[in-house]
Amino acid sequence: MFHSPPAKPGLTSCRSPEKETFTCWWKPGSDGGLPTTHALYYRKESSETVYECPDYHTAGENSCFFNKNDTSIWVNYNITVVATNALGRAFSDPVEIDVVYIVKPNPPEKVTVTVMEDKGWPFLRVSWEPPHKADTRSGWITLIYELRVKLEEEIDWEMHLAGQQKMFNIFSLRSGGKYLVEVRCKPDHGFWSEWSSTSYIKVPDYFHREKSTWILITVFSTFTFLILMWLLHMNRHNLKHCILPPVPGPKIKGFDKQLLKNGKSNQIFSALVVPDFPPATSSNYEDFQVEYLEVYVRREQELVLEESKDLHNSCLKSESSTSDCDSGRGSCDSHTLLMAKCREAKEGERQTDRECSPMRTEAQRRLKDWEEEALNYAHAGIVSLEMSSGRVKTWPSVFSPLPRYSSSPLDQQSSLQMAKQLSLSTSSYLTQPGHSTKEALGQSYWDLCLSSKQPHLLNPPTPVCRELQAHSDVNISSIGHKRAPAGPRSPALHTTEYVEVQRVDNKDTLLLQPVVQGCGRMGGCFQMPHGEVYSKVKGVDSDNVLLLQREGMGEDRCPCVEQETNEVTGSCHKSCTVSTTQKPSGCIYTAVPVRDEMATMANGYVDTATMCTLHTC
């Protein structure tokens, strides 16, 4: 066996429990196979004297115990351990210690834990004693304490630093829990002691206190629940409507639920048939017509107002109606013409435009743009807009005679309303130029003066005046300013009160149509200068026929009319004033009760607005 000198031992630790004695432990190295002895030598500071350990046994094996007499405080010790065997010795590394700094006291003793009561809430009171060896009474050692608590089933400890006091209270306990408590101490300069032995304590159940809380909560919640239920009960109808809204039943006129339930489909659908739908009455196409107004503005400031019906309607009407007495038609606007128009559609219009207005002025063209806009306003989605170059057709011809065209008041009213709407819309635009702005129109300006009348209604018409004024033409201007006499029926008629019998319907109503001077849609018509063609009452004959006279007709005024009259079968006829200048022509109108209010104008113009329905022959 190989023998060797011992290996170097090493000092593991030195500890003093009370700062009065201390113990050092070492760990021996390999002994090299031979019996080895260890010795501890120490040297105090400021002294070269080497002392050996006084006591090797008190502290156990491989230890050296220094008792009170050998222990000096605040003095450095230089300690060395030597291992010796037969072959040699080995010195450990020297260790410098000062007893003051190696104090590790014993754990606190006599740890007691009791449950105390604080206003019904229990808490733990932990008390202990310092280790009996530590002289804390004389102040030789000052100890601070620390304790830890945990529930039995928990893992983590709850630490509490108690300072120098020897008693501590622990609150916030769990009812019926079992707690573990341990205490340890440490000098103000040293190491923590070991934890004391565990103390067990069981907290009594203070369940009754928690129970009262639960009772309170239960009562309160029950109360709230009852109140809620009562509120729901009171509002059950509302809730029912809210949650389960009633299924709407069918509201079809003639729909019978019982029939549906019976399951006979024939009866159901027959019941649905409304007897008078679609209305089979002789359709008065006038009801659906929307008359539109064609407005010319010429360089000569001649206003040409032309009215024509809706093409489609008029086409239909002209084709289907047989009792079309347009004996009073003196202008180019006739059914035949309209029919021609329908056929020709826009091309004819173009032609007429070209023909009829050789005197298109720039003003007209200027007007065209913004008149187009006006028409856009006036469009209103009711009728189709017809634009012709230089010609503005505003649909609602709100001229006073127009309302008479319609047969039934209701239809009239509806059409009037439509017209009124359109007129309103157009007036809103068109009246802007009004009296003030003249530049927009250039030399000529005009504003439409249309009045919507409802002669069958006694409501005062809402005059939507659009004054068409010719700037230069005196007659027209004068006419334009001229207004109908005040009255519910009196429209603000202007010079554009050209009356033309459009037709006579079956109810013996003379439907007048304002005549637009000059060229209608018919080619070959010339625009008459303003003020030359008027409707003038010639007289009333015995048969209550109102004779209207035209004067100052333009040339070639009504070839179309003659055409028309030829086609129209009927007793009515109209002697149209031939377009000869200064040739008075009279158109015979049959008129029924001419009202007294019908006052001839000073100039002999007929205020046709005051005329009621005229019976035709």
Partner: protein, 223 residues
Amino acid sequence: MNRGVWAVLLWPNLLASSVPLDCREEQGILSRCPSISQEKLLDRVIEHAELIYRVSEESCSLYEDMFIPLQFQRNQVGYACITKTLPVPSSKNEIQQISDKWLLHSVLMLVQSWIEPLVYLQTSLDRYNAAPEMLLNKTKWVSEKLISLEQGVVVLIKKMLDEGMLTINHSEQGLLQNGVQPQMLESVMRDYTLLSCFKKDAHKMEAFLKLLKCRQTDRYNCS
């Protein structure tokens, strides 16, 4: 940190103890300055010493952590304490055997011997580049309070021992001039030695004073 809190909390006490406590009692005239009982004075002196020790321990730890990283260097300071020449008891047996008077005088000796070295330490630390502000503040505070402690001990001696006024003569305690530490040339080690030695001596003062107090209350049970 605890000790720092202690230092802050007991600050007024320190200030209070710096109030002149030694009223000169003239003949026939009652002393006008407030006097304090011996027990209270002793308690205040003990608190003072405790605080001084705690602050010095913190300073030493700070210094160690910053400038003395190696353990072996920390162990070398034991031999170089400037006050090792003072006749101060160094074991509990000795302490138990010496008288009260001697205890007080030992305390006074220690206090007086450290006033000047602390000033020196302060100046030395001020020259450092990286000395933390807290360290400087602590050492400064300690040196100031040591003077107060000295005053308190002087009064205590006068009261307890009925001795006359002891002249505070610092010039005699020029220990540094004795060349006790010729080896310590490096400023860092020198300062660390100063700090650790002072820490130890502060603990001595505290222990002596506490023992003295124990003796005042219960002489025969104070171990």
